[in-house]
Amino acid sequence: MNDTNTALVDAETVTMLRETGAFAEVMDLMTRSMSGGLDLLEHGIATQNREQVRRVAHRLCGAANQVGALRLGRAWREVEDGAFDLSIDELGSGHDRLCDLWTQTRRVLEVAA
């Protein structure tokens, strides 16, 4: 689950988002969604509720890609695709990686905003 070739953030999407005038609000909602989503993912993994894992990963993959958070979106997508196939340990590693990626992405997006 390593993907350093993909850009962390797509500059063009960020520019478009800034032009809508809703960047600050989107960042606020994104922060809440990611925080809640990562908790849900952790819970899904702990209880081995793979459908919950798939569902939250699907939703947040879309959210990440929409703000141009490409690497984060891709990582969520890998969790979504592997929700029923990856081992619980692998999903746990995926969760840790998502936490790191979200921290990095958020920092970049906040600077861009």
């Binding site: 999407t13 478009m16 988002l17 032009e19 809508t20 005038g21 809703a22 609000e25 989107v26 909602l29 994104m30 809440r32 969604s33 569902r55 699907h58 939703r59 947040l60 993959c61 879309g62 959210a63 890609n65 929409q66 703000v67 141009g68 979106g73």
Partner: protein, 291 residues
């Protein structure tokens, strides 16, 4: 013939921008789409669930729905099907992930106008909505023109009532239409009915004749929704055209009432022409007999 002044108020004043409903469960995506579509000059409402979407769509007044197919509570495709059934004049653009294109194809087959893939290109979404609103307006205008042309082309008086009521149902999105004829004493006689009527049509037609004006222009909470239009020739009411929707369906929006008025006017003109033709034919027959 007179035409009530309220029959054709400025369309832009009533529908300045087009009304868009966004159905999306992820709040951050919803805010982005909303901002992009508002920038394109549209009025935007948002809901996060399929059941809320259906309630809002059936309440009326929505021109275009931007529908995420991956909703948590209801399958998006089910929302699309019910929207097409209950609000056929509301266009739907579906939003789907790039790996769900098979669902997008299914959605287009179920009557979606177009589809967008996630992540949605925010600089293009306004244009897609614009094209959808324009297509919807064109379709309605074409349908109205076709109906008016059909009415104007009728050559036998007996064929006219059926054509008027069928047209009224089509242009107003009604479930039923009734056509009443006003006799010389001011009494009313139903001469044609299309679809299931509630029994309130006659009462409403009488109100029109008594008040000598259309009735009613706007009754948002009325159930079943019902609207009656006078058919006038040289200021005299010769008939009343009444349309209804089933109880629980949305009330008639101003555009539908306006289109009904145009059908009523076209019907009155055609009736006047055919009555004159009939009278002339009688004179011709009488003259030819007397020779």
């Amino acid at each position: 013939m007179t035409f009530p002044v309220h029959a054709s108020p400025n369309r832009r004043e009533r529908y300045p921008h087009g009304h868009v409903l966004i159905v999306e469960d992820e709040a951050s995506i919803l805010v982005m789409l909303k901002a992009a579509i508002q920038r394109a000059g549209r009025i935007v409402e948002c809901v996060a669930r399929g059941d809320q979407a259906l309630d809002r769509i059936t309440a009326g007044g929505i021109d275009v729905v931007l529908l995420d197919l991956g909703l948590p509570d209801t399958a998006g495709i089910e929302v699309l099907k019910r929207s097409r059934r209950d609000a056929p004049d509301t266009e739907v653009i579906v939003v789907t992930g790039t790996h769900d294109l098979a669902v997008a194809v299914q959605a287009l087959r179920q009557g979606a106008y177009d589809y967008l893939t996630k992540p949605v290109n925010l600089s293009k979404v306004g244009g897609v909505v614009d094209r959808c609103v324009e297509a919807r307006t064109t379709r309605r205008t074409t349908r109205l023109s076709t109906c008016v042309h059909k009415i104007a082309s009728i050559s036998e008086l007996d064929d006219l009532p059926g054509c008027i009521t069928t047209s009224a149902v089509a242009v107003a999105g009604a479930s039923a239409a009734s056509l009443f004829l006003v006799d010389q004493d001011g009494g009313l006689k139903v001469i044609e009915t299309q679809g299931p009527t509630s029994g309130q049509a006659l009462g409403r037609a009488k109100q029109v004749v008594v008040s000598r004006r259309w009735h009613r222009w706007w009754m948002p909470s009325e159930s079943p929704p019902i609207v009656a239009w006078p058919m006038q020739v040289e200021g005299r009411i010769i008939g009343v055209l009444v349309v209804e929707r089933e109880p629980g369906q949305p009330t008639f929006e101003p555009g539908a009432i306006e289109r009904l008025g145009i059908v009523a006017a076209a019907g009155a003109l055609a009736a006047d022409r055919l009555i004159k033709v009939g009278a002339l034919q009688k004179d011709v027959n009488r003259l030819s007999r007397s020779r």
